[in-house]
C-alpha cells in the first residue's frame, strides 16, 4: 500500500571498512524483507554528511528496521520551509 509509506531518514553505524560503492548494498541488507519484494524503496544514500540513507517505509517496517543493531535511528522526514 503505497499510501502508507513515508520517507524515513535512517542513521546507521557503518562498518569500519567499506567501499563507497558497497554502501547501497549494505543499506539494502538492513531493510526488512517485505521492502525487497516491491519497487525500489531507497530514495537517497548518503556518504559525506551522514552515515545513512532515506527510504520509504511503513511504520511497521520502520520498527523492524530499527531492530538491526547497525541502525542508530530511523525517523520520518519532515518538510522544511523556504524563508
Amino acid at each position: 500500500d503505497q499510501s502508507n509509506l513515508s520517507t524515513y531518514i535512517v542513521h546507521v553505524r557503518k562498518p569500519q571498512v567499506i567501499q563507497s560503492d558497497d554502501l547501497h548494498t549494505f543499506y539494502y541488507s538492513l531493510l526488512p524483507e517485505s521492502t525487497k519484494t516491491t519497487n525500489q524503496r531507497i530514495v537517497f544514500t548518503y556518504r559525506n554528511v551522514v552515515n545513512g540513507f532515506a527510504v520509504k517505509l511503513t511504520p511497521e517496517e520502520a520498527k523492524a528496521l530499527q531492530q538491526n543493531e547497525e541502525v542508530v535511528s530511523a525517523r520520518p522526514e519532515k518538510i522544511l520551509s523556504l524563508h
Binding site: T7, I9, V43, N48, V49, E77, L80, L82, H83
Partner: protein, 629 residues
Amino acid sequence: TTHTPSFLGLQQGLGLWKGSNSGKGVIIGILDTGISPFHPSFSDEGMPSPPAKWNGICEFTGKRTCNNKIIGARNFVKTKNLTLPFDDVGHGTHTASTAAGRPVQGANVYGNANGTAVGMAPDAHIAMYKVCGLVGCSESAILAGMDTAVDDGVDVLSLSLGGPSGPFFEDPIALGAFGAIQKGIFVSCSAANSGPAYSSLSNEAPWILTVGASSIDRTIMATAKLGNGKEYVGQSVFQPKDFAPSLLPLVYAGANGNNNFSVFCAPESLNRSDVEGKVVLCEDGGFVPRVFKGKAVKDAGGAAMILMNSVLEDFNPIADVHVLPAVHISYEAGLALKEYINSTSTPTATILFEGTVIGNLLAPQVTSFSSRGPSKASPGILKPDIIGPGLNILAAWPVSLDNSTTPPFNIISGTSMSCPHLSGIAALLKNSHPDWSPAAIKSAIMTTASQVNLGGTPILDQRLVPADVFATGAGHVNPVKANDPGLVYDIEPNDYIPYLCGLNYTDREVGVILQQRVRCSEVNHIAEAELNYPSFSILLGNTTQLYTRTVANVGPANSTYTAEIGVPVGVGMSLSPAQLTFTEVGQKLTYSVSFIPFSEDRDNHTFAQGSLKWVSGKYSVRSPISFIF
C-alpha cells in the same frame, strides 16, 4: 541587488571587490528551488572555467546547459513530472542571483528600484541543488543536496530554508553543515521569519552562520492620503501610472466583511457590494499572504487597498508587488485610519505613488519578521549571528511580473534574502583569505559588524526602539571591515566534540553528528559558552562564571590590543589579561573573562546585554554578550 552592494560598501573595481577578485574561483552551492539558467544574471561572459577541483554535474539538457557561471545544477525533488533543476517557484533564482549574479543593467520591477542588479560575489561560480518545490523542502532531499555539494567541491553553502528549532542530531541542516565544515566549507543559513517572537530561530548550530534580516536605506514609497488631509507614508512596488490620485470612498474590511477572515481580506471574504470601487483597509496577518489580500480586494471589485501592519509588525511596512494600487502602512497609521473611518459618515482616501527613494538614515533596521534568539537548541550560543539586507530585495526572477521586455526581476523580503547576501560576502572572503577556516570567516564577519545605522544611532527594530542583541546578533554585516578583522576566533571541527558532549547529548547522538564513535565519558565536557565563539551567551545564576577564549592574529605582526568592556546593570566582568600583545602573524593568545552576578541590581529584567572589544588602532574586534538571568 540594484542597491545592496553599494549599501554594503561594495564598489566595482575598488576596495573589497577588487581585493577579493569579486569572488573569482569560489564556488557557492545553493540549496533551493532550482534556477532559471536563461536569466542574464547567470551569463558567463567573462567568467573563467570552473576550478580543477570541481566535481559536479549539470542536469540541464538541450538548448541551455550549464556554463561557466552556473557550473552545476542538480534536482533532488522526487516528483513524477519534474526531473530537471529548473526553478518553478522563483525563490532559487532570486537567492542565487543575490549571492553571485552577474551585473544586469536596467533591472527594475514596474520601474522601481531601477539600477544595475549584481550579486555580492559576481565572479563566483554557482552550483544549484534543487531540494525544494512549491510544497516545501524534504529533509531527505536537503541531506542529498548537501551530501552531493560536499562531494562536488563547493566552497560556500547557502540555505535560505529551515524548520523549527530541534536538537542538532535530528536537524538535517545542522548535520549536513557539520559534514560541510569538516571539509572547510562555509555554511550560511537563514534565521527564519518567525519574529519578532523570541526563541523563534531556525538553523542554530554554532558551525552555521545564522543570518537575520534588516532593511536597506531604499524605500519604494507610497502614501495613503485621507479625506481629512492627513497623509501616512508606506511602501508598494506596484505603482500604476494610470491610477488617478482622487479621493474614493474608504471602507474598513473588518466592518463589512461576510466572515471573520474579512478583517484580513482573506480570499473570498469580502462582499462585492461593500467594497466595489472603494479603497479598502485590510489588516496584515490571518495567515493570508499580503499579495493575496490585494487579490481578494481586486476580485471583489475594490479600487485600491491600504494594508495596515499588525501590532507586532508595527513600523515595518514591506514593498510588495501587489495586483492593484496599494500601500502598506504601519500599525500606528492603520489605527489613525480606523479612527478616521469611525469619525465620519463619508470617509475617503487615495494613494499617492512616489517611487523609489534612497537615503533612509534609519537603515539598517531589524525587520519585524526576522527571527529572534535566544537559541532553544543551544541557549549558551548567541544567535542569530548577524543581520544583513533582507527587506525589499530586487533580484532575478524566472518570469516577468510586469510584461516588460527587460530581463525579469522581483522584489521580495525574508531572511531568505539576507542569507545569500552573507553567502556572497563569505565567497569574497574565501577568495581574499583562502587559508581561513569557516569559523575564522564567520568570526571576521561577526566581530567587525556594525551596531549603528546610517544616522549613527543604535540599530532600531520594528518598534523604532533600539534592537536588542537577540534581534541583531553581532550586528549588521560590514564586508569591507570583515576582510581585515585584526583577530579571529577560530574553531576546528573536533573542538565541537566537548561542546556537544556538554549539551548532554548521548554518545549515539554525538556520533550521528560526528559520523564516528564518540565516548563522551572520555572527552572533556565544556559548557556551551566555553566554545571559542565570537560572541557570548551567558545564562547567569548566582555564581561567577569564567570562560577562556583564544584569538589568532590575522592583522599586522606587531600589535597590541586593549580590552574595552560594556557591562549592563546587575553584572560585573573581569578580564585577564586586559591587554594582548602579538609579535607574529598567526600567533594565538588566550584570555579569560569572568561574569559576576549582582542580582540585587537587575530591576526584574530577564535579560541584558553587553560587549567585549579588543581595540588596536583601526581594529576593533567586538563580541556581543547576552545575559539571561
